[in-house]
Symmetry: C3
Subunit: 264 residues, 3 copies
């Protein structure tokens, strides 16, 4: 199994080329397109896509290509984790949260000059030329130690995920994603809301980039009336905002990267 | 084979998580993404996606997740049909038209508390936590009777599809979908047009939400000039509107849910 | 292996129906969705999608459905190429560049009345009714000679790809595609830039449909500052324009089909 998280979108032949390269090298590979809709260059979004999906993916090789520094001096990684998962991607921190969720890194390899990469390597499409062929070779059973040069785990670039600001009766969070329903994922946990004193079942004021709107802190969409705003724990275990039968993003005129103030 | 119809779109890791769950439970499953672009919560659109695709799909397990009532008291179904197809989805009527096309339901099971669902079950992502694991278990050969509690077919929620209004020389229809060409699918059959007296080959007036435009009732796009409107029987056997080399939706400023009046 | 290039987009059940038809006929087929985002009816775009992906795809059956003349008298082709690749699509020139890249056509068959097509054939969805079933039959090992009527290679419709206009210090090109990063692909090769006297590393003026902007002719995104314009050889070996961390299409207000003047 090879799984893919990228910011390639659906235009161009980027995703098709990844599949082609993988299937040329490992014809029996099963490929899962986890998502190709990470915002361009959004390392936080790529990290969260990996960690949100990983608990539901088979053991295999998981490739994340969110890579604004492609073609520069940044490194390229293959990581073996405690629970057996292998993660592949640029050395820009995007793999860190996934590796932690998988029990931590037990073996790290720098693959920029791997014997398995394509020749020539383009300057801008390392997904096709470096990450996919190394993933396919590992999926076909080649040993990680042969993928490149060993690397100390302490050398890996780290990425800090944003944290909410918590005060008495107030929680300030960053919007990390909007889905195709218009639901807004924010970077906070239900226990952050609890610490801030926002109580399940109660009304919560929500001030994003647009108008201030009152939400109910509920459990699912039908806990509020049609067109009303809901604060809830989403299926990834974080807080999120939704409008029953509508779009929270449009209702709040609030989008990824924006700050939202939640208040009692 | 497991096939998927949902309103999840391509953002987020929803679709990837479905694939992951299915492949963890049934590693040899072949998965077909029929579409993930049903309009959010559109039960009619989900019904039609299933019935449009079903005649062209292998025998297998077909999952439809269009589920505005997720997390509420609505039921969750696995249905075995006369022709051997198995349908899975919420008990909100979205499976009904597909079941009828597959010869009718011969066995119905309530799967909300199936032994095969994930633990815990989230309040908002039953596609991942209930429908996908049950589909995968059935695809791996487990018997339907073991999926949950037997249900009488007469208890299933029914969904009425919209019908056209037919009068002498006039046919009033609802737009059910727009595709990426801008073609508008409407809820009427060629025989409805015949009853209304709209004749193949003739000019037809088309009044949607925007300007009134004359179409020709033809067979294929090139039956009208570049930029001209065509009324035709689409590949699903229903009436549709297209502009040769353009977008009927933009030309008519008419979109899903809008009414269109077709006249002689 | 069956691969798919179409202009179907992601709405409707078009792509799902192709997969279903292929898997009913050839249950062991591996399907690669190269792209379904060719601009509607864009034969140049379809040609380039095929040639960009083909070097990275396994040997197999490659289907291209960009088919504005569907349902008219245009032919339908299955082509065997020197290097073993089989190409399938309408006889409108869209396969030509791919066939040339695959070493040229050694056997051509007209498949409009192939014994393997579905019955009935719709007027507007030959992807499902003609191209997919013929591709699946060939993928399952049936011989090309049995697919239909032999055709002389000299009878195939040809399609001319646009060429850049080169003068001293100036290169005028057509934008062929924009990807989801906002990068603009243009129809010219690095050697065209060389002939025009545009030097790698130097500043280049870029005048599209919008404001004139200066770019650097570099190698990768990080060769220019955040928000700055880059002219580069893309991963398909042609020239392209990108903004580091932004959208070249929006910066230049320039889109597929527009002309761009590159100057020293």
């Amino acid at each position: 199994v090879v799984t893919l998280v990228t910011d390639y979108g659906s235009a161009g032949v980027y995703v098709g080329a990844l599949h082609g390269v993988i299937m040329r090298i490992c014809p029996t590979a099963r490929i899962i397109d986890v998502t190709h809709r990470v915002e361009p260059g959004d390392l936080i979004g790529g990290s969260l896509a990996l960690t949100d999906a990983l608990p539901f993916l088979p053991v295999g090789v998981h490739v994340v290509v969110v890579d604004p520094g492609v073609g520069s001096q940044r490194g390229a990684l293959a990581l073996r984790c405690t629970d057996g998962q292998i993660l592949i991607g640029p050395d820009n921190g995007v793999l860190g949260a996934g590796a932690a969720l998988a029990g931590g890194v037990v073996e790290a390899v720098e693959i920029s000059d791997s014997p398995w990469i394509l020749d020539p390597v383009s300057a801008t499409f390392h997904g096709r030329d470096i990450f996919a062929p190394v993933a396919a070779a590992l999926a076909s059973g080649k040993p990680l130690v042969a993928a490149g040069d060993p690397l100390s785990v302490s050398q890996l670039i780290e990425l800090a995920l944003p944290t909410p600001k918590i005060s008495r009766g107030k929680l300030t969070v960053i919007v990390t994603a909007v889905d195709d329903f218009g639901n807004l994922a924010v970077m906070a946990l239900p226990r952050d809301a609890e610490v801030a004193g926002l109580r399940s079942g109660a009304a919560v004021s929500v001030q994003g980039a647009g108008p201030k709107v009152y939400a109910r802190y509920g459990r699912t969409f039908s806990d509020v009336g049609e067109g009303r705003l809901l604060l809830f724990e989403d299926s990834n275990g974080r807080l999120a905002l939704a409008v029953n039968g509508g779009s929270a993003a449009e209702t709040l005129d609030t989008w990824p990267g924006d700050q939202v103030h939640l208040g009692r």
